[in-house]
C-alpha cells in the first residue's frame, strides 16, 4: 500500500549547519493499524508530513498503491486517498463544523450524516454542527472535530499525528474504537503517531523512530517490551506500565 524508499530530509539551520531530520528511511506499510513512536524530535511528525505532501523530502521516493507520488501536491495525494489529522488542529473564523465536515466528505451531506460523524468522536452533534471552528472551541473539541473529518473522508490511508493529545475528557477506549470502526468501514491502513502505550498496544505493527532513523519495526510483542525498558528507570509511571 505505502512504500517509502530511501527517504531523507535535510535542513540548514540558522548557523548554516546542515541538519539531517530523517535518514534513509525504508519502510513498507500494508493494510492494518500501524503505530509510529519514538522520542520527541525523532522525526515522526516530519515523516507524516512527507507522506501527506506537506514537506518535500530531500531524497528518496514514495510509492502509494503502486503509484509514485513523490512529486504529487497535497491536493492530489488527498484525492488519491491520503488523509492527515494534524497534531495541532487549525482554526477557521467563520467556517462552521458542518462546512468543514462537508468539505472533508467531498460532497454535500445531510445534517444527519454530519452529526453521525461527530457522534462517533463523542461530540453531541446538535451543539456543534453550526458552531464556528474558532477559538471558542477547546483544544479537545477541535481535536475530535479533526478526527471526525478523517472519518468523513474514509480514505485508503489515514494518518493521525498524536491523536490522544488534548483528548482529556474522552476515554482512550473511545478513541481506539474510532480507529477500529474506521478500519472496519474503510479497510486500508491507519498510521498513528503516538506515545501512548494503550494506543501502541492495539497496533498490528509498531515503528520506532530514533534520531531520524528506524531503530525497530515489528509486531507489538516484538517491540513493546524492549521499547518500554528504554523508559527512564527512575520514572515509576513508565517502568511500572511495562510489568
Amino acid at each position: 500500500m505505502l512504500e517509502l524508499k530511501n527517504i531523507g530530509y535535510k535542513v540548514v539551520d540558522e548557523k548554516n549547519q546542515e541538519k539531517e531530520i530523517l535518514k534513509n528511511i525504508n519502510l513498507t506499510i500494508d493494510d492494518g493499524f500501524v503505530a509510529i513512536t519514538g522520542p520527541n524530535g525523532s522525526g515522526k511528525s516530519t515523516l507524516a508530513k512527507i507522506i501527506a505532501g506537506i514537506i518535500k523530502p530531500t531524497s528518496g521516493s514514495i510509492i502509494f498503491d503502486g503509484m509514485d507520488i513523490t512529486d504529487l501536491s497535497i491536493t492530489d495525494r488527498a484525492k488519491n486517498g491520503i488523509s492527515f489529522a494534524f497534531q495541532q488542529p487549525v482554526k477557521f473564523k467563520g467556517i462552521t463544523v458542518k462546512k468543514l465536515i462537508t468539505l472533508a466528505a467531498g460532497k454535500e451531506i445531510s445534517t444527519t450524516e454530519a452529526c453521525n460523524y461527530l457522534s462517533e468522536v463523542g461530540l453531541c452533534a446538535r451543539d456543534y454542527i453550526n458552531r464556528e471552528v474558532n477559538a471558542s472551541l477547546s483544544g479537545g473539541e477541535l481535536k475530535r472535530i479533526e478526527i471526525a473529518m478523517i472519518i468523513a473522508r474514509g480514505t485508503k490511508l489515514s494518518i493521525f499525528d498524536e491523536p490522544e493529545a488534548g483528548i482529556d475528557l474522552w476515554s482512550f477506549k473511545s478513541l481506539i474504537r474510532v480507529f477500529e470502526n474506521l478500519h472496519e468501514k474503510c479497510g486500508g491502513s491507519i498510521l498513528i503517531i503516538s506515545h501512548q502505550e494503550r494506543i501502541l498496544n492495539t497496533a498490528d505493527k509498531i515503528i520506532v523512530l530514533t534520531g531520524g532513523e528506524i531503530s525497530a519495526y515489528g509486531t507489538k510483542d516484538e517491540i513493546l517490551p524492549d521499547y518500554m525498558k528504554g523508559a527512564p528507570s527512575n520514572c515509576e509511571v513508565l517502568t511500572s506500565k511495562c510489568d
Binding site: I74, A78, F84, V90, K93, T96, K99, L103
Partner: protein
C-alpha cells in the same frame, strides 16, 4: 422596473417581488413604489430629497424596505432618510443601494440616514451595497448614518459591501442613553483599485450603555481600506471595537481604533488584526482534497459570512 433594476434590487434587498409591510422604492432618483401600514408611515420630505419613516410606539414584528437602485450612468444624488421610531417597538429595516453603471460617467449615491430610536425599542437595520455594469464610469457610495438611542433601546446594524463599488466613504455616528445597546457588524470586500474608508464614532453617554463595533474585511488586488473606530465612554459603560482584515496581493489596509474613557467606570476594549490567510489553513483544506484556489475561496467565504 426593468430587468437590470430588478437584479440590483435582488442583490441589495433579497427581494424578488414586492415585499410585505411598508416599503419605498427609489429608482434613478424617482419614487417607484410605496406602501405604508397602519403603524408605519412614509412621508416625502419637502425641503430636500428623501423621506421620513415614522413608526408608531408599540409596533412589533413589522419591517420596512427602502432600497435604492441606480441604473442611469452619471446620476449623482444625496438622499436624506429619517427614521423616527416610537417606544417599545421591535422592527426590521432593510436599506441598500445597487448601482449599475454601463456608461462612462460617475454614478454616485449618498444616503444620509438618521435613526431616532425611542425607549426600549429594538431595531435591526440591514444595509447592502452592490455595484455592477461594465462601463468605465465609477460607482461611488458614501453612506452616512446617525443613530440616537433612547433609554434601553437596542439597534443592530449589519452592513455589507461585497462587490463592485469603486469608492466608498462610510461615516457612522451614534449617541447612546442609559442602558442602550448598539451593535455594528460591517463586512467589506474590495478588489481591483477600489478604495473603502469607514469611520465610526460612538458616544456612550448613558449609564449602562454598551457598544460593539465589529468589522471584517478582505482587501484584494491593489485595493485600499481604512478603518477608523472611535468609542467615547462618558459614563459607566462598556465599549468594544474590533477590526479583522485579510490582506491579499498588493492591497493596503489601515486600522485606527481609538478608545477614550471620560468616566472611571467606563470599560473599553479595542482589537485590530490584519494578516494574510494563514498557510496552515490552506494546507488543512488541501489535505481534504481542495486545490489552493478552492481553499482560499472557502476561507474568504467563511470569514465574510
Amino acid at each position: 422596473m426593468d430587468e437590470i433594476q430588478k437584479g440590483l434590487l435582488e442583490a441589495v434587498a433579497d427581494l424578488h417581488e414586492v415585499p410585505q409591510g411598508a416599503y419605498n422604492f427609489r429608482v434613478n432618483g424617482q419614487l417607484d413604489g410605496r406602501n405604508t401600514t397602519e403603524n408605519i408611515d412614509i412621508v416625502t420630505k419637502t425641503d430636500k430629497p428623501g423621506i421620513d419613516i415614522i413608526i408608531k410606539a408599540g409596533t412589533k414584528n413589522e419591517s420596512v424596505h427602502i432600497p435604492v437602485v441606480l441604473s442611469q450612468s452619471g446620476l449623482k444624488e444625496s438622499v436624506y432618510n429619517d427614521f423616527i421610531i416610537g417606544e417599545d417597538c421591535d422592527i426590521t429595516i432593510v436599506a441598500g443601494c445597487g448601482i449599475h453603471n454601463s456608461g462612462d460617467q460617475t454614478s454616485e449615491h449618498s444616503g444620509i440616514h438618521s435613526f431616532f430610536v425611542g425607549k426600549n425599542s429594538r431595531v435591526k437595520y440591514i444595509e447592502k451595497h452592490y455595484g455592477a455594469g461594465d462601463g468605465n464610469g465609477e460607482r461611488i457610495m458614501n453612506p452616512t448614518t446617525h443613530v440616537e438611542l433612547g433609554e434601553g433601546a437596542y439597534l443592530e446594524m449589519d452592513t455589507v459591501q461585497i462587490k463592485g463599488i469603486d469608492s466608498t466613504a462610510r461615516k457612522t455616528t451614534a449617541k447612546l442613553d442609559d442602558k442602550a445597546t448598539l451593535v455594528i457588524k460591517e463586512k467589506i470586500m474590495t478588489h481591483g483599485s477600489q478604495n473603502a474608508t469607514t469611520d465610526f464614532t460612538v458616544d456612550l453617554n448613558g449609564a449602562g450603555s454598551s457598544a460593539n463595533v465589529i468589522s471584517r474585511s478582505v482587501a484584494k488586488d491593489k485595493s485600499t481600506q481604512t478603518f477608523y473606530s472611535k468609542i467615547n465612554g462618558n459614563n459607566e459603560c462598556y465599549g468594544h471595537t474590533e477590526c479583522d482584515a485579510i490582506i491579499m496581493d498588493g492591497a493596503s489596509v489601515r486600522a485606527i481604533p481609538e478608545i477614550t474613557a471620560n468616566h472611571v467606570e467606563a470599560s473599553l476594549v479595542h482589537e485590530a488584526a490584519i494578516g494574510k490567510i494563514a498557510g496552515e489553513q490552506l494546507i488543512k483544506l488541501m489535505t481534504l482534497g481542495l486545490t489552493e484556489q478552492e481553499a482560499e475561496a472557502q476561507i474568504i467565504d467563511g470569514f465574510m459570512k
